[in-house]
């Protein structure tokens, strides 16, 4: 599809251009922020898991959230999407305050997440997983559900939309199978496709590549780039630096609960603070010579 490639380039260029003048520092303000986070802090007992002063996410860009294990990335995701509540802090999504909002309402506003451990509903069929994602279904109300003629038409259009997405994610021939029979990578694809059933404006992917075999990685990456093409904002957590370099427009680095650096992938990976966070302060001299060895070690971690 030459058209979509054309499109992709322009969307990517747009994002790159928009972020070109943004200062390379933690908490930098973006020209068109869809999500603005302030003073979000979450502690478990004595341990401060997340303590983010200020961070902004650019609309229409792919932002990677990276950091060593235990940096608080997943906790930060949980807080933003209402799956956990912070001790303090506010965050605005498209100008709306999300603090204290239950997770399902966050999702209804268009901020959809996936999970590190895939949550495909394995005892339901692939197509039922997809249909579950559709929003505003009349048949999901208890009394209307009793009368098939009230929701049958909507159900058909939901199914048609699901088929379309399944075709795009190459899962159509699996549609009648139980989701539990899919491979790890296919489940990731299903979870992403299901998230798209909600017509989100922002997609939060928690380690979309975890447990996916290399053959599927490339197609997953293309799908994530495809989300940007459609004008969605993507934030994802990832450990593999090659992946981060390949698809992200902007990288936010977390360590010990805080944002320590931001910038385009190539620049941020040369940032001494980032290298120190990953490998400890004593390693920086040896590693500044070869940026490559850093990437490799980080992806192994």
């Amino acid at each position: 599809m030459p058209d979509s490639t054309q499109d992709s380039v322009s969307k990517k260029d747009q994002a790159t251009k928009a972020l070109a003048d943004v200062p390379r520092e933690a908490g930098a303000s973006k020209p068109d922020a869809i999500l603005v986070v302030d003073h979000v802090k979450r502690s478990f007992g004595g341990l401060v898991a997340v303590d983010v002063e200020h961070v902004e996410i650019q609309r229409g860009a792919i932002t990677a959230l990276v950091g060593p294990n235990g940096a608080g990335k997943t906790t930060f995701f949980n807080l933003l999407t209402g799956f956990d509540s912070p001790d303090t802090g506010t965050w605005m999504f498209e100008g709306r305050d999300l603090a204290g909002m239950p997770s399902y309402r966050v999702a209804r506003l268009g901020m959809i997440r996936t999970f590190q451990l895939t949550k495909a509903l394995s005892k339901m069929t692939v197509i039922d997983n997809m249909r579950l994602g559709a929003t505003g279904q009349i048949g999901e109300r208890m009394f209307q559900a009793l009368f098939g003629f009230l929701w049958r038409g909507q159900e058909n259009s939901v199914s048609a939309k699901a088929d379309e997405l399944l075709t795009r994610f190459k899962l159509l021939e699996k549609k009648a199978d139980f989701a539990g029979s899919l491979s790890g990578g296919q489940r990731k694809l299903l979870e992403m496709a299901r998230a798209l059933m909600t017509d989100p404006t922002m997609v939060m992917l928690d380690e979309p590549m975890a447990g996916v075999n290399p053959a599927l990685t490339q197609s997953l990456l293309e799908h994530i780039k495809g989300l940007r093409e459609e004008g969605m904002t993507v934030v994802f957590v990832e450990h593999d630096m090659d992946v981060v370099r390949d698809i992200s427009d902007w990288v936010i680095v977390m360590a010990q609960g805080s944002v320590i650096a931001e910038g385009p992938p190539d620049e941020v990976m040369r940032n001494p603070a980032v290298i120190a966070a990953y490998l400890g302060g004593h390693h920086d001299r040896a590693l500044t010579d070869t940026g490559v060895s850093f990437t490799q070690e980080a992806s192994e971690a």
Partner: protein
């Protein structure tokens, strides 16, 4: 041994009062536990609320029987809300603990001396169903004979109403689980965070399932109260809940007709063994005649326990269940 008598007892039990009552209770549990994954161990409380509502309205307050019916349903809804509001946000096991405790609290209140004026203490309440039987279309001399067993006109009416309620309840469940609503609750059963992440109000769905199952429990309470012309706190012991669970698991959880098949088989076997053991004692059969009648009655309750264990181990999906869509791993 009078095999025709044993057979007649099995047939009448399979379609008798107890089968109806526990069938309805099990349909309620099927909605809650089978489809939504909610461990309601207090179904006996919902039955008690239904049964006592019709009894107390008539005997204590002297109102019409038919006032008791909506009151019973309303009371079941309120009970479900009271139990659900604090627990449904928590993990599934909290609901189990709260419901089993609440069921005992309700039973102890019903039998307490303090409220004897209202609920009749341990004697319960009797003779309140005249308003119900006034509607009986069967003539006084109508009777259904199954071998030596005779079913009189009042029983005929009770059974007709009871089985109609089961038919309606099954129809409602059948329609619901095939709808998008059913899809959501099945999703919740498996992983509520996944459903929540798609923008569904999981708490509200769980509450709806708890309320619906509780209302079916109240219907079971109506039928047991009418059929026995008696409500008594000891009818609504924890055993009642576990009988209903045994029936559901036997028939197949998360199958629309699981509770129906379960209750028919359960009561045929349960009453059949009783008569068989008693007759065996009278006939001096080896081993069996070592017991007396009272011991035989206890033995069959033990057999129910053994039966539940064996089912859980060897066929957790029950008779109608689909192993692939096993409902029994509610977290």
């Amino acid at each position: 041994m009078d095999w025709s008598y044993i057979f007649a007892v099995m047939v009448t039990s399979a379609f008798g009062l107890q089968a109806i009552v526990f069938g309805l209770a099990a349909i309620g549990i099927n909605v809650q536990f089978g489809y939504t994954g909610l461990l309601n161990f207090g179904q006996a409380a919902f039955m008690a609320v239904g049964g006592y509502s019709v009894a107390v309205v008539v005997v204590t307050f002297g109102w019409s029987f038919w006032v008791g019916v909506p009151i019973g349903i309303l009371a079941a809804i309120i009970l479900a809300l009271i139990l659900g509001i604090p627990t449904l946000r928590l993990r599934a096991d909290y609901l189990a603990i709260v419901t089993i405790a609440a069921a005992e609290i309700i039973r102890l209140i019903l039998r307490s001396v303090t409220f004897k004026e209202i609920f009749g203490g341990s004697d319960g309440r009797q003779a309140f169903a005249d308003g119900f039987f006034a509607m009986n279309p069967f003539p006084d001399d109508a009777a259904l004979r199954i071998g030596p067993a005779v079913i009189n006109d009042q029983q005929l009416f009770t059974y007709t109403v009871g089985w109609s309620l089961i038919a309606i309840a099954l129809l409602v469940v059948w329609l619901l689980v095939r709808s998008p609503w059913g899809r959501v609750i099945k999703g919740i059963r498996e992983d509520e965070d996944a459903v929540r992440s798609l923008g569904k109000n999981v708490y509200a769905y769980k509450m709806q399932a708890l309320v619906l199952g509780g209302v079916f429990g109240a219907l079971a309470g109506f039928i047991t109260a009418i059929g026995a012309q008696n409500v008594n706190p000891d009818v609504f012991k924890t055993d009642a809940t576990f009988f209903a669970y045994a029936i559901l698991i036997l028939g197949g959880a998360a199958r629309v007709f699981g509770p129906l098949l379960g209750t028919v088989i359960f009561w045929a076997l349960f009453q059949g063994t009783d008569v068989f053991l008693r007759q065996g004692i009278d006939a001096g059969l080896p081993i069996i005649s070592l017991m007396d009648g009272t011991q035989a009655a206890v033995l069959r309750v033990m057999l129910v326990g053994l039966g539940i264990m064996l089912l859980m181990i060897y066929r957790p999906q029950g008779i109608l269940g689909d192993r692939k869509e096993l409902a029994l791993d509610a977290r």
